[in-house]
Structure formats: structure tokens, C-alpha cells
């Protein structure tokens, strides 16, 4: 079929053995004129090394301040099909489980009322229906709602919480990621649909240190599975692995804290020094499993390198007994979040993420305000400043001597 635009640069991206987004856009373009214009505009951008999308504006569905990401072409005369090319975020189910039937229904909506292109899934976790005109937004929203789906978050709001497949499919999960993700999503609907924050806020729940949602780098609040007791060892299976590979080379020497030993008596782990990094368990999944006292570490503050540079989350709560809190509808966790948001609301400035605020005011002031005790685990790196400032409450400690 004849192409509307010659796209030599995009064509380069179809080479190689891996799937190509260009192939997919071209397939969608066979059915949709707007998607042909998308190819034209993207080719021009590659040529000029400059984007042609304008952001923002007054696009949305009635009542919600979030869920639609406005995108306009700055070359609407040349590419009328992408004059309005908005993204609709649909809140994915916990763990991304669907029936093929419901997927077909969502896809039909996107083909009929938008460009026929989707992201499964955006980095927030949502299903993204791409390329909707302003006039189609309400229809798409209503049809998704009719199938039991709601919009996700965007703008200065709680972004759609997301989680790994957790206990539904993964033996490494230390807590039920899907359950808490669903619960928190329901509990904070208002914060998600009606932006009220200084900036975005993301939750991601990973069942273990493999962190399949990459929460450590992408979520303001990262909840990552861990365990309190010992790694479970099946010594017979360890011997099987030892027949096939060099345990010292591939497991023991790669343990970050070198807390394992192996000899004719079997594998020993000094669990008090294990950081739950998951390496040994990943290499020998049939021999090793996380302990049975599972829970999560709650970390705070990561973000991508937007406004200011990138950050990783830092430890806030070393061990959170998720299963215990689940019995109480996660009330402890919800209270913690509310306190953090209150602090952010009170002291944060516009477009300042929580991690940046904490860096600005100091972790000490922050944890005091939200009512947590300072703990060694909160230290993310050795201090660069040798000077110690003693707080008055240390001096007040009787019998401890005067502070300098």
C-alpha cells in the first residue's frame, strides 16, 4: 500500500531482530489517517532532532482533573491528524491480569475512538490509549467505565499505584503486593482524580528485592519485600546445583556481604549479615527461598531526572509487617501516608517532589514531623561533614554527661 510519507529514518528502526514500534505504528496507520500523520511528524522530528508536541491545556473529562495527558502538534496544518493526540490513562488491574475478552473490548474502544495505538503499560503502570481527539475523550471514558475501568492519575496528583505480580505468580514475593496496591488505590481515589498536591506522587509495590516495578528509582514511595528470619535452604538441591556450576564463583563470591560459606557440610548463611539482595535466591531458586517472616521495607523519595536530578528512595521503615496491617485495612500505612502528605502540603513548594523537600529540610526534621524514630537504616550514605550538632534532648538525658 502506498505510504503518505517517506520515512527513511523511521525505516532504520525496523531493522534488527527485536520488535519495533515503527512496525506497529505502520500497521495502525493502515486503518487510521491520523496515525499516518503521526509517522510524518515523528520522521520530521528525527530529521530535525526536535520534538513537535505541545503539552497540557484544558483537556480532561468532566469532574476529573487527571487521567488525560493533553498532547497537541505544533505543526497542525502540516499534520492535521495529530493536531490533537491526547493520551488516556486507564487504571490497570493489580499485577496486570486481564481476560482476553476484556482486552479486546478496551482495544475496540481505542481503535474506534483514538489512533488504535496503545501502551501496555506506561511507566506509571496504566494502560495508555494513545491519540484521542478532545471531542472523543468523554465517550472513551464512559465506555471504559461501562467495562469496569476508571481513569488513572496524571498532573499534580497521586499517580496510579502499581505492583508486581507478587503472590499470584511469583515464589519470591514476601507480601501480597496486589492486595495492598488495590486497597491503597481505592482508599485514595480523590487524591488520584482531583489533583491537590504540589506535584506528582507515586507508589510502587515490589514483592522482593528484585524490584520488578523498579520502585527504588521510580516511585516516591517504594515498598519492597523483605524478610526477618533466615533464608530457607534445601541442602540436597544445593548439592545438585554444585554438580552443575561453581558455587564459589557464581554465588558465594557475588554475595555483597560475603556472608555465605560452602563445604562438604553444606551451605551456610550468616543471615544477620544478609542484606536480602536476592542474588543467591535468583541463581538457585530451587534450593533457596526467602524466609517465612515476610514483610516490606518502606522507602521514600525517588524520582526520575526531571526538574532536578534523579534520586533513589531512602529507607523510611526498615520492616513493615504488611500481613498484620492488612488485617486492619492497612490503617497504619494509610496514616503514615497522610502524615507525609500533610508535611509535603505544609512545607513543599510547587513542583517539588517529596524527596527533594526532605533533602531541603533535612531528614531529621522530616521524620520528627511525621512521628518516626531515627534509625541507622535511614542513613543512605556516610556523612561528608564531620561536625556533630547535639540536639537539646540529648543533653537532657541524665547521667549521659554534658554534650560538647
Amino acid at each position: 500500500m502506498s505510504k503518505k510519507y517517506q520515512t527513511p529514518l523511521l525505516d532504520e528502526l525496523k531493522n534488527g531482530k527485536w520488535p519495533s514500534f515503527v512496525n506497529e505504528i505502520e500497521k495502525a496507520a493502515e486503518k487510521s489517517e491520523m496515525t499516518e500523520d503521526l509517522l510524518g511528524q515523528v520522521e520530521q522530528s528525527y530529521n530535525e532532532k526536535a520534538g513537535h508536541w505541545k503539552h497540557g491545556g484544558m483537556v480532561g473529562v468532566k469532574g476529573y482533573g487527571s487521567g488525560i495527558v493533553g498532547r497537541f502538534s505544533d505543526l497542525p496544518e502540516k499534520y492535521p491528524g495529530v493536531k490533537e493526540f491526547h493520551t488516556i490513562r486507564i487504571n490497570q488491574p493489580s499485577g496486570f491480569f486481564y481476560t482476553s475478552d476484556i482486552l479486546r473490548k478496551i482495544v475496540d474502544i481505542g481503535e474506534k475512538h483514538a489512533s488504535g495505538l496503545f501502551n501496555f503499560h506506561g511507566s506509571t503502570g496504566d494502560i495508555q490509549i494513545l491519540g484521542a481527539k478532545t471531542s472523543e475523550l468523554e465517550t472513551i471514558f464512559q465506555q471504559c467505565v461501562a467495562h469496569g475501568f476508571d481513569l488513572g492519575g496524571s498532573g499534580s496528583a497521586l499517580r496510579t499505584p502499581s505492583c508486581c505480580v507478587g503472590m499470584a505468580r511469583c515464589a519470591k514475593a514476601n507480601y501480597d503486593t496486589m492486595h495492598i496496591c488495590y486497597n491503597i488505590t481505592q482508599a485514595f481515589q480523590d487524591e488520584m482524580h482531583r489533583p491537590i498536591f504540589n506535584y506528582k506522587f507515586k507508589f510502587k509495590f515490589s514483592g522482593c528485592g528484585n524490584d520488578c516495578t523498579a520502585s527504588i528509582a521510580r516511585a516516591d514511595m517504594s515498598v519492597i519485600g523483605t524478610w526477618k528470619d533466615n533464608i530457607r535452604i534445601d541442602q540436597d538441591m544445593v548439592k545438585e546445583y554444585a554438580k552443575k556450576m561453581n558455587l564459589h564463583k557464581y554465588v558465594l563470591s557475588k554475595c555483597p556481604t560475603k556472608c555465605m560459606s560452602y563445604d562438604e557440610n553444606g551451605l551456610k548463611i550468616d543471615d544477620s549479615n544478609c542484606t536480602k539482595c536476592m542474588h543467591c535466591i535468583n541463581v538457585m531458586p530451587k534450593a533457596l527461598r526467602p524466609g517465612i517472616k515476610g514483610g516490606a521495607t518502606i522507602l521514600l523519595g525517588s524520582k526520575a531526572p526531571m526538574v532536578s536530578g534523579p534520586r533513589l528512595s531512602m529507607v523510611l521503615v526498615p520492616f513493615y509487617d504488611v500481613a498484620e496491617d492488612a488485617k486492619n485495612d492497612y490503617q497504619w500505612f494509610r496514616d503514615l501516608i497522610e502524615k507525609i502528605w500533610e508535611f509535603w502540603d505544609e512545607y513543599g513548594v510547587s513542583r517539588e517532589r517529596i524527596g527533594e523537600l526532605i533533602q531541603r529540610v533535612g531528614i531529621g526534621n522530616f521524620i520528627e514531623a511525621i512521628g518516626l524514630e531515627p534509625l541507622p537504616e535511614m542513613v543512605s550514605s556516610p556523612r561528608g561533614n564531620p561536625f556533630v550538632l547535639y540536639e537539646e534532648y540529648v543533653e537532657a538525658d541524665e547521667g549521659q554527661g554534658e554534650s560538647v
Binding site: H55, G57, M58, G63, G155, S156, R194, I196, Y199, D345
Partner: protein, 76 residues
Amino acid sequence: MTDETKTQLEEAIVNLIKEFTNKKRFKPGDIVKEMEAKFSAKGVTKDDVKAAIRDLADSGRLIYGYAGGSFLSLPE
């Protein structure tokens, strides 16, 4: 909060945004702070203001926009 206060609160929010049309973009958080202070004598809380914004957006009297951050405005 009485029905009368609620009506006054909603009018105050709409008027504030009307007054500053094309001059200032109001983040929902700014409005909450502003109205909480203005109506504190009548016992209006943060949640009351949030609920009022929600009603105004649901009824279409206010709409949300986005330009580097979310803001509230009158429908065009």
C-alpha cells in the same frame, strides 16, 4: 458546615478564580489554603474545601487544566 456556608464557600471559590482570570493560575492546594483561612471562623475544614472543589468540578462550574502543574479555571 451548614448549607448556607457551603453555598458561600462555593461562591467564594468561583469568584476568586473569576477575579484572577488571566492573571493567576490557582492550584487546588492554594484554594484550599486560602478558603480554609477565610472561612475558619465558620469551622470550615480542609476536607470541606476539597469537597466544595469536587462539587464545582462535577457540576462543570470549574474545570481542571494542566501547565507544568494542575490548576483550576472557569470553563471556556
